[in-house]
Amino acid sequence: MRIAIASGKGGTGKTTISSNLAYYLSSQGQATTLVDCDVEEPNNHIFFNPAWYGSEMVQMPVPEVEAEKCTGCGKCAEICEFNALVCLKGNVLIFPELCHGCKGCIMVCPTSALKETTREIGEVQLGIKDRLNIVQGVLRIGEAMSPPLIRKVKEHGDNNGTVIIDCPPGTSCPMIQAVRGSDFVLLVTEPTPFGLNDLKLAVETIRELNLPFAVCINRSTIGDNKVHDYCKQEKIPIILEIPEDREIAQAYSQGRLFLKTLPHYQIQFDTLLKNIKELVVC
């Protein structure tokens, strides 16, 4: 089963939930893989310090021009919606970092002067800590095209057993790429006006994708009841509530898993998993 942990904005506790849930599952002897798809800032590894045993560079297709075949007709620059090619007085200039990899230029070129080559956008890293598999993507700094990397990270993480996917925050392409294909999405939020506003955006997105989902309220004792009211009204189950707990915040700040020092929360993770199983079945 693949469980995606997502939220409409950053800083709600996505990574705290992902890392502790993955730790809990693997400590119960279950085959578990933690997949960090927050490729701009993969932070789960901080909590595990895994042994990295493998990696793969991830490429994207981009065009390359063979000058002797090029007639300078400019059709490639015309078809490109992303301004990744220009044709200047018969010379084609290519800007690979703007290319989305649609291959339109290669298909349209009448003299086959453009051919496909690749450029690196980031790296998938494979690690292990005790019995837990950890897969993370690291986007090259300054790189804008994260979805192809996220796709690759998920492929590597698609193992047997339970897969926990920590998604990038927000509701744009990277988040969608990360949650796609999951069996279940857990949306993490806080009981505040900001938390509620961002939760609503995330709910709209997940509904668009037609995936089963539920809500986790983190730091559930700090705010008001509006998130509860909203979930009740929208018939969204709330399947985990973690109270404001200074020790959890401190554990996070030091890069420690709070379940290790606060084992009384284990029961909540156990209930969470039971709830998820029920929701996925129906």
Partner: protein, 288 residues
């Protein structure tokens, strides 16, 4: 001379927007802008009255006219984004608007349409004119809407003869952040003393250095890990970056947010309010 202050955080959830709301209550003669267009929250404490509502168009989306489609499957074969289903329906979320299907469709059944990617607004608030925006679900945040919001704020500031633009910036370190900090007189980074907070702070600082903008740091929730707070301060001092505020965790900031207020209005005498007042004075010194 118009000055631009941009507040960013790298990591989400550090309290960036709450600090912006508090600064909004303190600065006079300003225009406000929310460049966090992906998850805009500042309006929740500013209670804006929307004066102008504009559509934001960006990119393209393909559309298949079923009556002209001859089911040749050419588009399905050529699409690199798996955006076309076997039933010849385009998945608007996956479609990148590259136009390949449109160009190669032998029966002219596919059109490429402009894509409504969001909205932007000009509003009146208790703290002055406010420019904000909302990006549509599943839209790409290329920084273009951020640029638009910021340019509108500049335009309005010039027109209204304002001396300051206060900007709530986007999270992360990608295109939207770069778009929001360019041209800023001061970038204020709100961080927290956690390992991931420090990690992101380092990345944001190198970005600012790269773009050569004046930077100051504010450490929020400083008492979660005092050792780490001390090491952030030391690190900033060594790099000549002023630390203009150190704010301990204060639940009344959340309580203020629930009332739709900034901490300056909710509890003007609180310790947090006092720290932010001092921080504002230091910011004025830095930009003048």
């Amino acid at each position: 001379m118009l000055k631009e202050i941009v507040v960013i955080s790298g990591k989400g959830g550090t309290g960036k927007t709450s600090v912006v709301a508090a600064l909004a209550a303190l600065f006079d003669n300003k225009v406000l802008a929310d460049c966090d267009v992906d998850a805009a929250d500042l309006h929740l404490v500013l209670n804006p009255e929307i004066i102008e509502n504009h559509e934001f168009w960006s990119g393209k989306t393909a559309n298949i006219d079923k009556s002209k489609c001859i089911n040749c499957n050419k588009c399905l074969e050529l699409c690199q984004f798996e955006a076309i289903s076997d039933e010849m329906v385009i998945d608007k979320i996956s479609c990148e608007g590259c136009g390949v299907c449109f160009h190669f469709c032998p029966s002219g059944a596919i059109s490429l349409q402009d894509n409504l990617a969001g909205h932007w607004y000009i509003s009146k608030t208790k703290y002055g004119t406010f420019v904000h925006a909302k990006l549509g679900i599943a839209e790409e945040n290329s920084g273009k809407l951020v640029t638009l919001v910021k340019n509108k704020a500049r335009e309005l500031a010039a027109k209204e003869n304002k001396s300051i633009i206060l900007v709530d910036g986007p999270p992360g370190i990608g295109c939207p952040v770069i778009a929001s900090i360019s041209g800023a007189n001061l970038v204020l980074i709100i961080t927290e003393p956690t390992l991931s907070g420090i990690h992101d702070l380092t990345r944001v600082l190198s970005l600012n250095k790269h773009f050569n903008v004046q930077t100051a740091v504010c450490i929020n929730k400083s008492d979660i890990n005092q050792e780490m707070t001390a090491s952030i301060i030391k690190n900033c001092q060594e790099n000549n970056i002023p630390v203009v505020g150190v704010i301990p965790y204060d639940n009344s900031v959340t309580k203020a947010q629930i009332q739709g207020l900034s901490i300056l209005e909710f509890n003007p005498e609180s310790h947090t309010a006092q720290i932010i007042r001092k921080m504002q004075e230091e910011i004025i010194t830095l930009i003048s």
